[in-house]
Each structure stands twice: as C-alpha cells, then as structure tokens.
C-alpha cells in the first residue's frame, strides 16, 4: 500500500497539472464540503501518530489548540536533520503538492489561517521546488482567501533555515522562525497553547501532514485499518548505512524489522553480518541482530527499549567498531548542543572526551561506568531532548557492547602506553580519587 510514495517518480509530479491529473486536491475539495469538526474527527479516527520523532497522535495535538478568534499558527517542520533521515526530502522534492494539500486541510481542521513551512537551509533544491509549487497553488486558488468558495482562508510562507540541528526541535524551530538563535524554550507552556509569536501553534512533521490527504480520501476509520492497532497507517522509512539498497521504503507499520532491512533494503553487504542498528535515527538506542524480528511500529520499538523516532534505520555491520560509531554520534551532538542547559552542554563534551580517552589508551573500564552515569544524568534534565538524543544511544552501546568496549580499552592501552603501563591503574581496581574528572 503506497500512500505517500505512490508513483512518486512520475515526471512532472512536482507541478500542479500532473498532480491534479492524478486526483490531487480532491481531498481538499472533499474536506471543504464538510465541517472542520468532521475533518478533525477523521484525523482522530485515523489515529495517525506524528512522524517526526515523538509519535504523538496528530488529532489530539489539534484538539489541544484553544478555540476562539485569536491568531493561531501551523508550522510544518521540514528541518529534517536527524542523522539517517531523508524521507521528507524525497516527498518535498518529488511531490510537494501532497504536502501543501495536507497543510491546507490541517489548517482547515484546526481553524488556522497562517501557516509556515520551516525547511532546513541545506535543502536548496527542495526549497525552490516547494516555492514554485506554493506559487502554483496560490495561483489556482488552493491557498489564499476563501479557498474554493468556502469560508476558509489561509496563507503559506516558506521559511528557509540556515543549518542547525537544534532547529528541528519544535521550540527551537519556533525561536528560529521568529528570527532568533534557535534555542529551545522551557515547556510548558506547550506550543499548542503558546508557540509562534505567543499564539497557539500546531507543529507537525512533513510526513504527518502529507498523510492527511490520504486520510480524507480513504476516511479515517479505513486508514486506521492499516498498520497495527496503536501504530496505524503507512510510514516512509529511510534505510541507510551498511545495506545493499539504501533508500526510502514505504511500509505498513508493524511488519517485522527483518523484512524491512533484508527484503527491501537488501540486507548487509555480502560476507558481512549486522552488528547493531539504530531503529529511529541516531538518537534512538541501538538494537542488535537478535532484535531483527521485532515488529517495526511505535509500541514494539518502545517495548524493546528503543524508539521508532523519525523512522530512520541505520545499519552498522561487523566491520565497524562500536567505539568508532559512538564517537561519531557523541561528536555530532556535542557540536550541535546549543549550550543553554548544562547537562547537555557539558555531558556531550565530556562523553566525547571519555570516548577519546578510550581511543588513546588512557581509559580504564571504570570510565564506562562513569560514562553510563553521565548519560543517565543527562536524560530528562534539559529543556529539550538533544542531550537525551546522545545519552540514549551511547548508554545503550555501553550497556550492550560492554565486553567489546572493555577489550578496546585494554587493546588501546597496550598499544599506546606500553612503556608507561606501570603508571596506569590496573583494570578493575578503583582508585579513591577517581571521578568523572581526572585529578592531575
């Protein structure tokens, strides 16, 4: 069942005539013939959960918006910057009108008249394509005053970012859209109550909004029959890393992960074996090759101690060390931490330093305990989840690959400091002064 990637390679699909020929904007017409409440109840029935990472049901998010005549805003989060994720890129590049139609319908359901798309600055081509598509939609009367003769009016502005991972976090995105540095805000108040320009704001991911036309076309209840009971519908999954056919695959939620990684993406390279994989972008705790039969849906992933996140599977095969991947992850988050909250700013940097100590042969197995405790103390202690996004995968790597990391520590020490071994604390012996900060 392809709802989002349906014949997406058709030439000219990014233009209005082709999109309309394929039945585009019929869902919008259908929605505008009913009341906003009916549209919302369809979205509620569909049970579609946010595709950006948190997996919060879209219908409930809309229902949190206060009613009344104040300025409300809808922001489409197209800052897709979670490492490993590239699904929104393909949708925006090849089928931009699907997203625009979804935004218009969602704005109707939520009674919103000002909408924005915040697209990451690196997506230059996609921004140009969207800009052209928006112009076409305005010209054709799908965006503007009294759309298609109804009472609904709305505007849509495309806003280009300028390169910052943290702007994919919803409150950081709002600050960035207001023209500030993209620092996350304290929650509550949640954006649904006080968001962009202090107005109630609905923020949804590209894929979530692009699903809306299909929900209206099929009807919410029928859409809900796809997937599992709590993870309804289809999901575009980005598979990358050590697989034979990396790319975006649209699946019904709940299929075994093995089917996704082996049947669709071709499995690991010949002669290689999967060592571990990130099920939902680089912020998700890693799973090993024993977890390949877990169904790929929100709840099964959560039960397995990880998360579906943005639906980005990164496969790592046995030719890579855990340390190498952990260092890559930690360095990325240390660079991207905005610096506002101490646990994240310091925790990410110290984690990088501790991993580098392992690499240079200065670490002891006790560093792994310290590292694990640093990760624990980051989680839940910051304004946003950037720190958690590093702490969760690193914590899971330390827990699941402790043996390998300990062997790494021993090997690196022998390699690096053969002459000075006497000065290093023997493995397993704790030192009374040892703490997270080495005493020099």
């Amino acid at each position: 069942m392809k709802l989002l990637l349906d014949r997406i390679d058709e030439p000219g699909l990014n233009t209005l005539p082709v999109y309309e020929r394929r039945g585009g904007y019929q869902s919008l017409r259908k929605a505008l013939e009913t009341t906003p409440e009916e549209v919302l109840s369809n979205i509620m029935d569909a049970g579609v959960r946010g595709r950006g990472g948190a997996g919060f049901p879209m219908g409930r998010k809309i229902s949190f918006l206060p009613h009344g005549d104040m300025d409300k805003y809808l922001v489409c989060n197209a800052d897709e910057s979670e490492p490993g994720t590239f699904k929104d890129r393909e949708i925006m590049q090849k089928n931009p009108h699907l997203l625009i139609e979804g935004i218009v319908i969602a704005s109707y359901a939520a009674g919103i008249s000002r909408t924005f798309i915040y697209i990451r600055g690196e997506y230059a081509m996609q921004a140009d394509i969207l800009e052209a598509a928006i112009a076409e939609a305005v010209e054709a009367g799908y965006i503007g005053e009294r759309i298609l003769g109804s009472d609904h009016s709305m505007s849509l502005v495309l806003h280009r970012g300028a390169g910052a991972y943290i702007c994919g976090e919803e409150t950081g995105l709002l600050d960035s859209l207001e023209g500030k540095r993209g620092n996350p805000r304290l929650k509550p108040p949640f954006p649904a109550i006080e968001g962009l320009y202090h107005g109630p704001t609905l923020i949804n991911n590209v894929e979530t909004l692009a699903t809306v036309p299909a929900i209206i076309r099929m009807g919410g209840k029928e859409y809900a029959e796809l997937g599992t009971e709590t993870s309804t519908g289809t999901k575009v999954v980005s598979v990358s890393g050590d697989v034979q056919r990396p790319g975006n695959y649209e699946i019904e939620l709940g299929i075994p992960s093995r089917e996704l990684i082996y049947d669709l993406a071709g499995g690991p390279l010949p002669g290689r074996e999967i060592k571990f994989w990130f099920p939902g972008g680089s912020s998700s705790p890693v799973l090993t090759k024993d977890d390949l039969d877990i169904p790929y849906d929100f709840d099964s992933m959560a039960k397995a101690g990880s998360m579906l996140g943005s639906g980005a599977v990164i496969v790592v095969d046995d030719s890579h060390t855990v340390l190498e991947v952990a260092l890559k992850v930690a360095k990325f988050y240390a660079h991207e931490s905005c610096g506002k909250c101490v646990p994240c700013r310091e925790g990410t940097n110290w984690t990088v330093k501790m991993l580098q100590r392992i690499e240079s042969g200065e670490a002891t197995p006790m560093d792994l305990d310290i590292m694990a405790s640093v990760q624990e103390q980051i989680i839940g202690n910051c304004l946003c989840v950037l720190g958690d996004a590093m702490a969760m995968p690193i914590g899971s790597m330390v827990a699941k690959f402790r043996d390998e990391l300990e062997a790494e520590i021993a090997a690196a020490r022998e390699r690096a400091e053969g002459a000075e071994l006497d000065d290093v604390i023997p493995i397993g012996v704790a030192d009374e002064h040892a703490g997270p900060f080495p005493v020099h």
Partner: protein, 290 residues
Amino acid sequence: MSATGRRPVPRFGHGSRVPGWDDAVDLTKAPATVPDPALTPVLPGLKETIEAAMAKYPDRRSAAIPALHAAQEVYGWCSPEAIDQVASVMQLTPAYLTSVATFYDMFSTVPKPRNDVYVCTNISCSLLGADEFFEAMLAAAEGDPDVDVRSFECLGACDIAPMASVNGEYVGPLDLDDAERIVEDLRLGRPVLEHKQLRYRRSADPEVAEEETDFGPPDRDETPMTDTAGLGPEGDTEDRPGPTAAIEMTTDQPADHPEPEAPTDQDRHPAGTTREEADDEGPGQEDDTE
C-alpha cells in the same frame, strides 16, 4: 592518584585550560546602535529583497535569516558592512544580527571562498567512507582560493552516502576520484558531477518505480561535456558511467521484486579501502584520520 607518568595538562597562552573567546573584543567601545537608514547606504536590490521578506511575517524580526541569506549571497559572507546594511533595513542592532549569524552553520562571519563544498561526515556517510573522502576533498581543494571544504552535519541524503553538497547541489555516492572532479567542475563553471546528482535519482522502493520513465540528466546534445565526471583527464580506461550514459538504476528496480545484483566490494566501498584492509588495522585504528 600518582602524578608520575601523566601527560602535562595542556594550557592555552593565557594560562588557562579554557580556550577563552574566539575573537578579541574591545570592551571599552560603546555598544553599536541601530544604524541610521539615512547614513547607511544599502546595495540596490538587497533592500527590496529584505523588505519583501519582512512583509511576509507578522513580526519583521522573522526575516533575519532570509535577510542574512540575501546579504551573504551578495557579499559572499556576513561582513560587518553587510550586517550593518541588514540592520539598517530591519531596524535591529548589528549585535543582534551577529548573534543570529554566528548560531547557524551556513552563515560565515569571516571571509570565505565563493564555492561551498559541505561533505557529510555523519554516521551513515562515515560508515561508507566519508572521512576518507573528506580528506581527499581537502587535498583536492588545497590551494584553490574559490573552494571552501567543510565537514557537515547529516545533510539528509544517506541514500547516496557518502555524499556532499556542492553549492547546494547534492551529489553521491562519491568515490575518492570525485574530489578532483568536483574541484575541476567548479573551476570550469560546469554542473558538478551531473550523473551523480540527487535530482536524477529514482526512489529505491521497488513498488514505486514507474516503468520506463525518463529520469536521467537532461539531454546533453547542445552541451557536449565529454569529460565531465565521466572519464578522467588522461588515459583513464576504467568503465564508469559517462555523462551521456543512462543512469543505471533500472537494474535495481524493475516493476516486480527483483533479485538484486550483489554489488562488488569496489562498488560499495568507493572510498578506496576495502573492509578487509580496515579490519587489518585492528580495532580502534579506523578513526586516526581525525
């Protein structure tokens, strides 16, 4: 803990272990105020662009990023002069705009070369050799005053890993030889690595592909670019898809579920080193390029 045998703690010039400020700051100077529009000449065109951007938002400050994009496009970087002009049009302090410009990776507050090459070195790309490509790219661009090579956060194109964004154009999967070609294409003002551009790539999902749709680069009839990215300058006889060759993706995705051709090790590890070689280095050695 015994102090013997420990390496000395590195300290910076001012005696501290903390690096300190990036730039020298004159604390005696009065803070800059909002520039007077009457005294700040703004480049023609730039003013109109910024004003049009401000008109799109309920709050004019929202146009800060679009305005800085526009100014950087004109000046090549966010120079103090450019920031002053933006500040005068937007009626904000230069300090505010500097604070915004320094937050985002795509703005530069120091002069930079004209062409941006962002090499993605995040997880998916580095698993497939992005770090080696980054080194090759640095080497290829060395001495070229017009090319700025940076390693960048995940650019959202892990399907073509390892990849790079050249002036906003995504290209991949790259092998080490492509570094030289990117520099050469930039020097000659040609489209960069056209047969590897993301815009011509089909969807990977086997049930999605349209049969026999034309999804390749545009016709090369009027622009013969025989040497673009296809074959190396001299005596390169290796069989690579040239710019006029059809993009060879159809083998991967016929309409029904295909049995894919197993890629050779060379295909999968374009960065030149095979996995076996990497393994021989022993654990922990892979990262020593950093």
